[in-house]
């Protein structure tokens, strides 16, 4: 009985808590420890270095703080007298410790501590899913983290996900369209679902936020297909506000996020204030972006069949000269942009605050497109008493994105370029229609779309949280967190009257989606020592989440010119509301033995409103072990000690879940229909399933972290084996069943891989510093089980799910061959290839048809790698980041359509008579031969390049500031690839789970240059 089970859990939780309260405490006094931290090389103060007071002989912290802008810290602790260890860490630098004796003197000052730049990040604090932070060395799973500095420094990154590209090992972050507003797709250790959402869970300051990618208006892929939006909601978070990002890549790490963590978790922590005088900083950036290339078009002067098929009137002029038009310079533009960010932070005794505002305004590389964002954020922390602290944070933002249709949308601007032979002059005035000429193939004139259409997305969003942290005893921390993400997206898609043809009366869609996500967490952590060598950290928690999405759609036709609101003949008015609730409770125990062996075990019990009645509550366990070998007595003296500066071995196992692809699949609800204007309803075609449960992932992971040569070289190596079973699949039923399908927990897939992060600081001199980091990740995805072994589930055009194959392989028709293996051609002139074999009887009727379909390629990369180098030469900082995907295929549908409709240079080949007419143009058979259009999409991008210099001292003071930074940087400046299209990174289907690697008239990712200044006051 689930409720009883839940109650039992709560009871156990209470017992544990009461045990904690009964624990006797030694006499405690209040101490204040002060000091400063500086860079070992330059002796400049280090801001934001972590300072921890360690309990004697343990790894637990009695108190912690961070340094202020002057590198100073003041640490207050209520502890018993004794000898303690102070530990100093900063991301990207080594660790340092100091012994401190706390006795009669309540005010203790320690000498300045120097931290040297090191490649290591082994000792930092991480937040491990939920509950209390832990040191990286204590946990058995890999956690990738990226500092806010790295995120902020990423040039021209409008959104956080762009800023993370190439910085997280095991994360494949692709920009899917070059339209403004940031559309990207993230895969952590491969794709872990088939029908579910493969994008990771996004958590900002402990609040699970919306990362919806359902399109309200279809601008990329066709509305009849799974409609993924060109942009995603992670772009709402300004990179400048991020202090830190942590990534949990699989079940071994994310079990405490339970039934939504199958695709991993990205935890974002926003900036907070520090005690001290107000710090004002202002950053401004100017940017300019261009498309990396144009589509190749037919420039042959003679009229060919491609032209005469599109424009019949040209028929008699076949072979004669004509004028050709390449109007791509009227479509693309040099996109200018500006972004500004102002923040004020500081704090006094017991209070810290951080206030910021940002303003972004940028053009897109396609004319008429652009993106603007206005946002403000505040975070205030108040210490209420010596055992209680409250933090309140909130951010509000508004964005407006102006987009244009692209891809499969027949009105797409680039689609028109691809679909229309170049005899078409879009600037020509059609005097009969009294407007710009219609494209002979598509109808829509691309310049008219730029000038007169509106495709706009307006977002208003509030993210807020309140956190109360109580430490009634020094070893007990109770945290309550309430978080809210309340957002609204209002879109407008206006296609004016006559836009597509003389008969078109116009169309206006104005859908609105409101999303409210609320979560409520209560966590208690108790730390206990048993003797000097044994420590137990116990965490119990309770989590409740509630998501509600309300979508209202309305559309009219027969527009009245001049109106951008709904005036006309109603075409659609509809509403959809979904709600999802989860409730969970978890217990986790972490045992620390002699401060070098750490064992963790936990279990999460979670229920979801989307699970079938018979499967309401689910367990998600985890265990992990971490062994810090270098702490082993005798290690330093051993042979290993001579090789390794540090060495840690770790292993973890965990389970997570994935929500079913619909909130209400456990119910049968009738659908509305209309009959002759009369309201009707009909039964759903989906058969219900009472046994529907979450998709379940089980992950094993093993790894080693080591550093060498005095921490100058560090390595993290991880092997993982993820198996996700109970995948929800739509099992098609026989048409005669009266149903279309039923969702069942039936599939299984695996992701196995290795991740390697190598970092080094080869040169560390005053005048020259060089840091380098290589990330390498290899993932092998395999579909282990489907409903039937013979099943092929095709998504969109070609991406298929086939047992024994990686997810989303391209599966399509190949050249038919005869017994000798030669390609079979159709027809006497041997031009069009036959995409199928049709056997006919003597009377011409068809006997049998054989369509050859084969696996043609795999969009999943064999491996991803990135190489980052930073140089500091006499204060000039140079950063170079290369980011590559190796071995993934791309389906070049841009080329396919350009050949078929005759806009490509191949149409010119035909027009010149270098091949038989119909080889490319309107060759319906070749058009089906997808084999022809699969290409290797391997690429390496010069993702980031930056040169910066910071002016301090007199020069800066003369400007009235503490320091000024100047930076010239670029993003995606160059791509090395053999791919024949413009950009192999884009995807027509954006963040779609399975349909990936399809290039179809999608806006290429721009090359962007940035000039930036930042001032600190």
């Amino acid at each position: 009985m689930p409720p009883t089970r839940l109650r039992r859990w709560l009871g156990a939780t209470m017992l544990l808590l009461s045990g904690a309260l009964a624990h006797p405490a030694a006499a405690q006094d209040s101490y204040t420890i002060t000091g400063s931290v500086q860079d070992a090389d330059t002796r400049t103060p280090l801001v934001n270095a972590s300072v921890q007071l360690r309990n004697p002989g343990t790894s637990t912290a009695a108190a912690s703080t961070v340094t202020d802008a002057a590198g100073r810290f003041s640490l207050r602790a209520r502890v018993a007298a004794g000898t303690y260890t102070l530990q100093f860490t900063q991301i990207g630098r080594g660790t340092s410790t100091r012994q401190v004796v706390l006795g009669a003197d309540r005010e203790v000052s320690v000498p300045a501590v120097a931290l040297s730049s090191a490649a290591l990040q082994l000792e930092e604090l991480v937040v491990t899913g939920t509950g209390a932070p832990a040191e990286r060395r204590e946990i058995g799973n890999a956690v990738s983290s990226v500092s806010g500095e790295e995120v902020t420094r990423a040039p021209a990154a409008t959104s956080a996900d762009q800023a993370l590209q190439g910085k997280i090992v095991g994360a494949e972050i692709n920009e899917t369209s070059g339209q403004p507003g940031g559309g990207s797709s993230i895969r952590l250790r491969g794709t872990n679902t088939i029908l579910g959402n493969a994008e990771p869970l996004i958590v900002v300051d402990g609040v699970i936020v919306d990362n919806n990618n359902d399109a309200l208006i279809g601008l990329g892929s066709n509305a009849t297909r799974s409609n993924t939006a060109l942009t995603n909601r992670l772009s709402d978070i300004s990179p400048d506000e991020i202090e830190r990002v942590e990534v949990l890549k699989g079940a071994a790490a994310a079990a405490l996020y339970g039934s939504r963590a199958n695709s991993g978790v990205i935890q974002i922590f926003t900036k907070r204030g520090r005690q001290g005088a107000p710090q004002i900083s202002y950053t401004t950036e100017l940017q300019a972006a261009r498309t990396p290339g144009y589509f190749p078009v037919n420039t042959e002067r003679r009229i060919g069949v491609a032209d005469t098929i599109a424009v019949r009137a040209l028929g008699p002029f076949l072979g004669r000269d004509t004028t050709r038009y390449d109007y791509q310079d009227q479509i693309f533009q040099t996109a200018l942009g500006i972004s500004n960010q102002l923040s004020v932070s500081g704090g006094s005794e017991g209070t810290t605050y951080y206030l910021s505002g940002n303003w972004n305004d940028e053009e897109g590389i396609i004319r008429s497109t652009g993106y603007s964002r206005y946002g403000g954020r505040a975070k205030v922390t108040q210490r209420l008493s010596n055992w209680m602290e409250v933090e309140a944070g909130g951010s509000y933002l508004r964005t407006r994105t102006n987009l244009v249709p692209e891809g499969e949308q027949t009105q797409g601007i680039l689609t028109t370029v691809i679909f229309t032979p170049t005899t078409f002059n879009p600037n020509q005035f059609d005097s009969a229609a009294a407007r710009l000429a219609y494209s002979p193939v598509i109808g829509t004139n691309p310049l008219d779309v730029i000038q007169n259409w509106t495709a706009r997305s307006d977002i208003t969003r509030f993210l807020g949280n309140v956190r109360a942290t109580a430490t009634p005893r020094s070893n007990l921390t109770i945290t309550y967190l309430a978080g809210l993400d309340d957002g609204r997206e209002e879109d407008t898609y206006l296609q004016p009257r006559f836009a597509t043809s003389g008969a078109f009366s116009g169309s206006l869609q104005t859908p609105v989606r409101s999303v409210r996500r609320f979560n409520n967490d209560l966590t208690a952590t108790l730390e206990n020592s048993f003797g000097s060598n044994l420590e137990l950290s116990s965490t119990v928690g309770f989590r409740y989440t509630q998501d509600r999405i309300n979508t209202i759609r309305a559309a009219v036709s027969d527009l009245t010119p001049g109106f951008e609101t709904l005036v006309g003949v109603l075409q659609t008015a509809s509403q959809g509301t979904t709600e999802l609730r989860t409730v969970g409770t978890f217990v986790q125990e972490r045992l620390s033995i002699a401060d070098r062996l750490f064992l963790t075990a936990g279990v999460n019990l979670e229920g979801s409103s989307a699970f079938g009645e018979d499967q309401r509550y689910q367990y998600f366990p985890r265990v992990s072990a971490s062994y810090v070998v270098d702490e082993q007595p005798g290690f330093r003296e051993s042979a290993f000690g001579g090789v390794f500066s540090t060495l840690r071995l770790r292993g973890a196992y965990g389970q997570t879940g994935g929500q079913p692809p619909g909130e209400y699949l456990n119910q049968v609800t009738y659908t509305n229909v209309l009959f002759g204007g009369r309201a009707g309803i009909r039964p759903p075609t989906l058969q219900r399933n009472d046994a529907l449960k979450p998709e379940r992932q089980r992950e094993w992971e093993f790894g080693a972290d080591a550093s060498f040569l005095d921490d100058r070289v560090a390595m993290e190596l991880t092997y993982y084996d993820k198996r996700t079973s109970d995948l929800v699949l739509s099992v098609p039923l026989a048409p005669s069943s009266g149903f279309s399908s039923q969702f069942r927990n039936i599939g299984e897939l695996s992701n196995k891989g290795i991740e390697l992060a190598l970092s080094a600081a080869p040169v560390q001199r005053d005048n020259f510093r060089w840091n380098t980091r290589l990330l390498f990740a290899r993932n092998r995805n395999k579909i282990e089980k489907l409903n039937q072994a013979s099943d092929t589930i095709t998504f969109e055009y070609l991406n298929a799910v086939i047992e024994g194959q990686p997810i989303g392989v391209f599966y399509g028709r190949t050249y038919p061959t005869d017994a000798a293996g030669n390609r079979v051609h159709l027809g006497t002139n041997r031009t069009p290839f036959a995409a199928r074999d049709t056997a006919r009887n003597a009377d011409g009727t068809v006997r049998s048809i054989v369509i050859h379909r084969e696996i043609l390629g795999d969009p999943n990369p064999d491996f991803t790698a990135s190489l980052q180098n930073t140089f500091n030469v006499r204060g000039v900082e140079v950063g170079v980041l290369f980011d590559g995907r190796f071995g993934g295929d791309v389906a070049n549908f841009t080329r396919r359509s350009a050949d078929f409709f005759g806009s490509s240079p191949n149409a010119g080949v035909e027009a010149r008579g270098d091949t038989i007419n119909g080889t490319f143009s309107r060759n319906a058979e070749r058009n089906l031969l997808y084999e022809e259009f699969i290409e290797d999409g391997t690429f390496v991008k010069l993702r980031e390049l930056s040169v910066g210099y910071r002016i301090e001292g007199d020069w800066a003071r003369r400007l009235g500031v503490d320091d000024v930074g100047i930076r010239l940087a670029g993003r995606n400046l160059y791509t090395w690839t053999d791919y024949s299209g413009i950009d192999p990174e884009i995807n027509l289907f954006a963040a779609s789970t399975v349909a990936r690697g399809v290039d179809f008239a999608t806006t290429p990712i721009p090359r962007t240059w940035v000039l930036g200044f930042d001032f600190n006051l």
């Binding site: 019949r312 028929g315 027949t410 598509i442 829509t444 597509t500 043809s501 409520n520 409740y544 109603l570 075409q571 659609t572 008015a573 509403q575 959809g576 509301t577 709600e579 609730r581 989860t582 409730v583 229920g607 979801s608 409103s609 699970f611 909130e663 209400y664 119910q667 049968v668 609800t669 009738y670 659908t671 509305n672 229909v673 209309l674 009959f675 002759g676 204007g677 009369r678 309201a679 009707g680 309803i681 009909r682 039964p683 075609t685 098609p732 039923l733 026989a734 048409p735 005669s736 069943s737 009266g738 149903f739 279309s740 039937q788 009727t845 068809v846 048809i849 369509i851 319906a924 089906l928």
Partner: protein, 459 residues
């Protein structure tokens, strides 16, 4: 009583409050959420109002699927063609090369058996629902049988074998002739039920469920449609006496001469939608529909628009295709479930089969010359019915069986465009024409082979 314990009491009070808050939070998180986007099945099947609404929905399930029901027949015969941007599956119907996995092959099955399931749910549950009148119960039963029979009837025109009713556990597959017998049996059951309804009950059922407008021929005319379908399938089944009798029961003018499915407001005529999907026009009337008509015949332009003439220059297959005009030319166009001249032509064919060529010839000429003033030759066109305005055929032109059947085939082609009957006509009257469909039948759908637990394709 003194107050030394006040602070303790206050603390206890605070604790109680905290516990209450926790309890409140827990109570607020019930995981039993009800889908707010529609009524639950349990509610629908126990509520008179919702049962009647489902009955309206059943008609919509038919009306929204007319494209699926007639598409293969029109494309495989010489009625429709595809346009240059058409879907490969549609082109395959024109060429006679559809794959058993294609949607165009499985769609009619899926539509029919979903209709069958709704019809069965209604017939099973309606009798137990309080608040439904006897007339409503009889009407629901008869209407659900009629719609089931009409859907299955379309299948019998397109496949050699098929299940006759939905069955989630595995439907049995019957040969076409047996399925057509089932269609006729259901129609006769529906007819018997309707005959028990009083005129008042019938009128009440019509206004409540069948038709929401005032038009004489809007919506499904229950008795007339049952008779029209009986006439159609008795004819196909070779039971000419019954076909003749049923056809004669259908009024040729006034109420009941037509049953027009309506697509007002946001609804859209599915034929129009497919013919005019944005700029991508998938299908249209085939060029030969115009070129093979008699020169004076006004019916081709009743059904389709022979402009723009440029479309005519397209060569090869897929052929040129012209936009539909009546009953598919605009989004709100109604769709006729049957046409009065189908009843005349059924009678003509039945008479001819039964040996009465004179009566058959009279009916053929009646259809052929409709709208024509036989004295002046002037033509009066009709907005709801195709009018041939042809000069009559002479007695010598219709004095052999072959001539009569050839004439009937011609008349049916131009009277019954978009009705999904041409394919069946070309097979039934194959001896009297050289026109051949691109294939004889649709292949048995692969999805039905693979997923029907009775393994209907196992050999």
């Amino acid at each position: 009583m003194s107050f030394p314990n006040r602070s303790r009491a206050a603390r206890r009070g605070r604790r109680a409050l905290a516990l209450a808050a926790l309890a409140g939070a827990t109570a607020g998180c019930s995981l039993d959420l009800v889908n707010p986007n529609g009524p639950k099945e349990e509610d629908v099947l126990n509520n008179a109002e919702l049962i009647l609404t489902t009955t309206a929905g059943l008609q919509a399930q038919y009306a929204d699927n007319i494209l699926v029901f007639v598409r293969a027949s029109e494309l495989a015969s010489d009625q429709w063609s595809t346009r240059p941007v058409a879907l490969a599956a549609d082109v395959s119907l024109v060429r006679g090369t559809p794959d058993a996995t294609f949607g165009v092959v499985a769609d009619p099955f899926a539509a029919t058996f979903r209709i069958s399931r709704t019809a069965a749910l209604l017939r099973q549950n309606a009798p137990g629902v309080p608040g439904l009148s006897r007339g409503q119960l009889t009407g629901i039963s008869a209407l659900s049988r009629l719609i089931e029979a009409m859907s299955l009837g379309h299948l019998t025109n397109q496949y050699e074998r098929m299940p006759v009713r939905y069955d989630s556990a595995g439907a049995a597959v019957l040969p076409r002739a047996a399925a057509r017998d089932t269609v006729i049996a259901w129609l006769e059951m529906a007819r018997a039920e309707v005959l028990t309804m009083t005129p008042a009950e019938l009128t009440a059922f019509r206004t409540r469920v069948l038709d929401s407008s005032a038009g004489a021929n809007t919506g499904i005319n229950l008795p007339a449609t049952i008779d029209a379908m009986l006439a159609r399938y008795y004819l196909f089944d070779g039971r000419y006496t019954e076909a003749l009798a049923a056809a004669q029961r259908v009024p040729l003018t006034g109420a009941g001469s037509l049953s027009l499915l309506q697509y007002p407001g946001t609804q859209m005529n599915p034929l129009f939608q497919y013919m005019s999907l944005g700029q991508l026009r998938y299908v249209g009337a085939r060029k030969e529909f115009f070129t093979e008509a008699d020169s004076a015949d006004r019916r081709p332009t009743f059904w389709a628009d022979r402009v723009p003439s440029t479309a005519n220059t397209t060569t090869g297959t897929p052929d040129s295709a012209f936009s539909f005009r009546t009953y598919g030319g605009t989004r709100a166009d109604p769709y006729p479930v049957y046409l009065p001249d189908e009843m005349r032509l059924i009678q003509a064919e039945a008479y001819a089969r039964l040996g009465n060529l004179t009566e058959a010839a009279r009916l053929v000429n009646e259809v052929r010359t409709q709208g024509r003033n036989l004295v002046t030759g002037a033509c009066t066109l009709n907005a709801v019915e195709p009018t041939g305005c042809n000069p009559p055929l002479t007695a010598e032109q219709l004095d052999t069986e072959a001539e009569v059947f050839r004439a009937i085939l011609y008349e049916r082609r131009y009277e019954l465009f978009n009705q999904g009957l041409r394919w069946e006509d070309l097979r039934r009257l194959a001896a009297y024409t050289t026109d051949r469909p691109s294939m004889q039948f649709l292949p048995f759908p692969q999805s039905e082979c693979d997923r029907n637990p009775t393994r209907p394709c196992a050999t």
